[in-house]
Every structure is written in structure tokens, then in C-alpha cells.
Symmetry: C2
Subunit: 170 residues, 2 copies
């Protein structure tokens, strides 16, 4: 495992990180569950998961992929492949986040409360799974991302909290 292979792993996953972080900035609006309740009497996803956050996050992540293609075209091969990869990483990240919210509501964690592990890893695993058919990393790079992403995630959230973008530091 060379240093450059670890940097390429971050470069690969960047759209997923942007998509996962962007609802903090572009979120709000109509909730995806339309205010509906699950059969346990609790919200399906909650007010924290909105269409604007989902669509905005996928758009931002995919735009990041377009920028990445123009910086390192040889890493992607073609603009079409770069855009498809970034779309799948972004959609995968937000889909994983949504599934996480579903499980958090089911065990009755209130919106915004931490699910230590799920919040830091669910979006990443989902992004890796969605993007796998188009382009993947080697196993060492994946293990590296899994080990360091929780710390990146906590650092980024603490920064967003200090900047006043989030009301809680996780």
C-alpha cells in the first residue's frame, strides 16, 4: 500500500463525501416520507431527509465528479464514466444515509441523535456497493477508507458545528 494509492482512494470516494455533507447546506424543504408514519407509529425517515437534500446532494456529488474528470481524466477514462461513477457514489451515499435513518427511526432514536458507526460507515458502504459495477478500488484501499472515514466524518461534523451550520457536533 503506497501513499499514492491511499490518496487515490480519497480521490475516488470524494463525490460520496460531498453528497453526504451537502444536505447540511442545501437541505430543508419537503421531507421524502411526506410526513408519513411507519406501522410502529413513528416517522418513516423523519423531517431531516428531504427531496431537496437528496437531489441537491446527488447534483453536487455528480458535479464534483465532472471537475475530477477534468483534473485527472486518465483515472476515469471518459467523461461519461466519470459522471456515472460520481452519480452512483453520490446516490449510493444518500441512499445509505436514508436506510440508516429508517433504522434509527425504528429503534426510536430521535432525529439528529448519533448512531455511532452507522452514520460514519453506512453512506460509505452503500456508495462503494452502488459504484462497484462501474469502477472499484482494491481491497487495501477499501479497508483504509473504512478505518479513516469515521475520523474524517467526526472532524467534518465538528467543523460544521463550529461554523454554525449544524446544531449538534456529530
Amino acid at each position: 500500500m503506497s501513499l499514492s494509492s491511499l490518496l487515490w482512494a480519497f480521490w475516488y470516494i470524494l463525490p460520496a463525501y460531498f453528497a453526504n455533507a451537502s444536505p447540511v447546506l442545501v437541505g430543508g424543504g419537503r421531507p421524502i416520507d411526506g410526513g408519513r408514519y411507519w406501522k410502529d407509529g413513528r416517522r418513516v425517515f423523519g423531517d431531516g431527509k428531504t427531496w431537496r437534500g437528496l437531489i441537491g446532494g446527488v447534483a453536487i456529488g455528480t458535479a464534483v465528479g465532472a471537475l475530477q474528470y477534468f483534473i485527472t481524466p486518465e483515472f476515469y477514462g471518459s467523461l461519461g464514466k466519470a459522471l456515472l461513477l460520481a452519480f452512483l457514489l453520490s446516490f449510493g451515499a444518500l441512499f445509505g444515509d436514508l436506510v440508516g435513518s429508517f433504522f434509527k427511526r425504528r429503534i426510536d432514536l430521535p432525529r439528529g441523535s448519533p448512531a455511532i458507526g452507522l452514520d460514519q460507515l453506512g453512506f460509505l458502504i452503500s456508495a462503494l456497493a452502488f459504484a462497484y459495477p462501474v469502477k472499484t478500488l482494491d481491497s487495501g484501499q477499501i479497508i483504509f477508507l473504512l478505518v479513516v472515514s469515521p475520523f474524517v466524518h467526526w472532524g467534518a461534523n465538528y467543523f460544521a458545528y463550529k461554523m454554525g451550520w449544524k446544531s449538534v457536533p456529530w
Copy 2:
């Protein structure tokens, strides 16, 4: 991704699953933190993490690896490599679990309360990282294990709860 490659992924990770599950059966005894408190006034790991659970779990996981070698020697190459791999997978799994307990105590989750995600993925990621230098999987197999392990984990814990081995179903 063929079916057999997914079955090999389970076969590879089996010592980690056994090590992670075994403290339920062989646990108890003297806690690893010796009853000591962290500077936040809470226990370092708590009474749930004991020397007997750690050593018993590593022993059971490594014994599983020895059995695996005699069933599929060609997968490991040599008994020494199979034992080393099983030891690293088992120790890695329990080390990840211990780190998870440390973080759970820091955010003041009581012993046994669920950290959705961390409990299902922390031991797995740690096992994969420790075992990586000896033998690893391909990226598709790793992503597969990450996606399905939470469900295996929940199923196994629910079974242990129904059998009366655990007091809570998670």
C-alpha cells in the same frame, strides 16, 4: 461476482464471526480495564469486556482456523498461514469490539446498549485490517461482507437472546 466467491468470503471471515460471538459463551471474569475509570469519570471499557472473553475468543477463533485448514488446505497454503490468519482475524475482531466499547463509554452509552452500525461493522473492519497483510479478499467480496454482516449479526444476536444466552436481543 460468482456465488462461490461470496461463499469464500464467508469462509475467510468465519474466525472473526466466531471470535466476536464467543464472549457471550466464554465471557465473564475480570474486566480488562480492571475497574478503572477514564478522565471523564466513566469506565474505560466497562464490565462487559473481560480477559476471559478476549483470550477465549481469540482461542476459539484460532481453533476454527485450524479446522478450516483441514477442510480446505488449498485456500490457506499452509497450516501456519491458516493459524496466523485466524489469529489476526480473531484478535482484530475483538480489538475492534474493544475500541467500540471505549467510544460507547465516552459518549455515555451504558453497557449492552446498541451502537447501531459500530457493533455490526467495527469488529469486521478491524478484523479485515489486521488480517490484510497475510491474506485478503477482493473488493467485491469485502463490500459484500460489509453489506450482509449487519443482518447476520442481528440474526445471531436475536437467536442468542431467544436461547437465553443474552439478556437483550441486540
